[in-house]
Amino acid sequence: MATKTHNERAWWFVLPVVLLVAFNALVPLMTVVNYSVQESFSQGVWFWSGVDWFEDTLNSSRFQAALGRQLMFTGVILAIEIPLGIAIALTMPKSGPWVPVCLVLMALPLLIPWNVVGAMWNIFALPDIGLLGYTVNALGIDYDYTQQPISAWITVIAMDVWHWTSLVVLLAYAGLASIPDAYYQAAKIDGAGRWAVFRHIELPKMNRVLTIAILLRFMDSFMIYTEPFVLTGGGPGNSTTFLSIDLVKKALGEFDLGPAAAMSLIYFLITLLVSWLFYTLMTRQEEG
């Protein structure tokens, strides 16, 4: 039964939030929508351009390439971070004095600001003076993220995995910790092996937190900007120019407000759509 106290005055409490959201989100969004359907040649002179910018953006090979890179990046980091996070969570102790130590160690990378992470890896991976870059080269592997697209990609991905796998670990660990002992005991009695315990108990019980983890990691990685920008600046060439970097280049670097606005709206809609898809798919699986 729903627990609800009816009191019309409660609406007044919500009002400040409504106003805040309006100024914070709706007004800028509407400005963007406004820009996306007009063209400006000089300050203050605007022409109606309809959906031209949207068509241009969608047809531009530059946008398609950036979108492709973006999807690739998000796909790769999800494919690494989610299983890796679960695996680490499974190996963590369930009780005892090591639990807080593990949790603090895991939380450390999450406490470092994005730009610092980018700067750290920027130096860490430099082939001539960086500890990582120097070591890898010393091992005879040709590695230089400032020159080779492959090296740049590996570095960006390694950096993201280092920074964000902890989040998945912590969420998965919370999910695992909530499984009552009776389940493990029953599985032992039923003669279930380690894999069966994971497949039929641990994974289903982690379902909810993993949905949240995937959603958070998707949205965050899809909009990633600071770290790769600080690390590679989108290079070498355009090889690590993700959507957000491209967008900023366009809007601020080239001051193409119309196309940039159209692009950001498309970007926003893609994020929204994919998030919704993820969410409905994962929750439906849970109910069905």
Binding site: P180, A182, Y183, Q185, A186, K188, I189, D190, G191, A192, G193, A196, R199, H200, I201, L203, P204, K205, E287, G288
Partner: protein
């Protein structure tokens, strides 16, 4: 199925137990027959769950052995003991259908497909789950889920014992008696050794042929429901079983007779010599308000619909009497009379002349 022997079991959760209070189980020595229905009954903290976990292998006893059919299994882990256990909260595999949940323990043991199918269908029919075989187990109500948990134990024909750990905790009150009687019926059909752990006397007495009553890590009585009600071996059993429980009244022993408040009380067992704390035990059903007897003050009368429970007090001790619908109840004070055939003397809690 197997005979289960518990030989001189003691268990403590402390690394170095010294005093008897350090032991959660003090000294357990008993044998359970193959195919019997047993209940472990006692209040929370009495050690019944510890005993259950020792039998299932989740806890290793500090001292003593567990034998299945004469084989020492004390050192074996749970999966090698061939036991089944139903927990307080239903444990089901969310991703599987009802059918797969029941087939799971058989598949893990490499049983053939045709045999699995036959066993699962037989057991689900018994449990009245056969109309939901293809449904996902996660969406079912608690009573159906608990039946699935039971079914996973019942499908296996290699189990030595099926154990139930307060299995009706999450079941709606009006469905409890159905499941309770279903269990009894299942035992009649499959004749497996079953051990049922509970703090609820109705559940224990309804299910079991033999009830083991535990208090503070000690077995205080093993007996049939009739034994426990009619001839409690310990005042704890008398108090714990029955509602309200048995009246326990301090007494003196004078010339080989029990004396309460200066009034001699005839008892079924001979009181013998005074040894320790002496008490008279009589169930409220066998206390009457009479013209003569032990004077008592009437405190309260509660109407249960079928009869009235009169709460009286005699020198600081509360004594309950169950009085029929028609009988009149005096106001203020009354005299209590005890049925001599149902009144017994206890020394330090134990029945005088009992087997203890």
């Amino acid at each position: 199925m197997a005979t289960i022997g518990l030989k001189n079991l003691r268990h403590s959760y402390m690394p170095k137990p010294l005093a008897p209070e350090d032991y959660a189980l003090k000294e357990i020595d008993l044998e359970w027959q193959d195919g019997g229905a047993y209940a472990l009954l006692g209040p929370s903290g009495c050690g019944k769950s510890t005993l259950l976990n020792i039998i299932s292998g989740l806890v290793t006893p500090s001292e003593g052995r567990i034998e299945f059919d004469g084989h020492d299994v004390t050192a074996l882990p749970p999966d090698q003991r061939n036991i089944a256990q139903v927990f307080q909260f239903p444990v089901i595999y969310d991703t599987m259908t009802v059918y797969d949940n029941l087939a799971f323990p058989l598949r893990n043991r490499g049983v053939g497909k045709a045999e699995i199918d036959a066993r699962v269908r037989e057991i689900t029919a018994m449990l009245e789950l056969d109309d939901m075989l293809t449904r996902r187990a996660s969406g079912l109500p608690p009573d159906a889920k608990q039946k699935i948990s039971m079914g996973r134990g019942l499908v296996r024909n290699d189990v030595n014992v099926i154990m139930f750990d307060e299995p009706l905790t999450v079941i709606d009150p009006h469905l409890k008696w159905k499941l309770r009687s279903k269990l009894k019926e299942l035992h009649h059909k499959v004749r497996a050794t079953m051990i049922y752990v509970t703090h609820d006397q109705t559940e224990a007495l309804t299910f079991a042929d033999q009830v083991v009553v535990m208090d503070d890590g000690v077995i205080v009585q093993i007996g049939t429901p009739v034994d426990l009600f009619e001839r409690p071996a310990h005042t704890f059993v008398g108090h714990f079983i029955g509602s309200p429980g048995m009246n326990v009244i301090p007494c003196q022993i004078e010339n080989g007779r029990a004396v309460v408040d200066g009034v001699p009380v005839a008892t079924e067992n001979a009181p013998g010599e005074k040894s320790g704390r002496m008490e008279v035990g009589v169930r409220p059903e066998f206390v009457t308000l009479a013209a003569e007897g032990i004077p008592a003050r009437i405190i309260r009368v509660a109407d249960t619909g079928r009869h009235r429970i009169v709460e009286t007090e005699l020198s600081g001790v509360k004594v309950h009497a169950v009085i029929g619908e028609g009988a009149s109840i005096p106001e203020g004070s009354a005299h209590l009379a005890f049925d001599p055939a149902r009144t017994r003397v206890y020394a330090d809690g134990w029945l005088v002349g009992g087997s203890h």
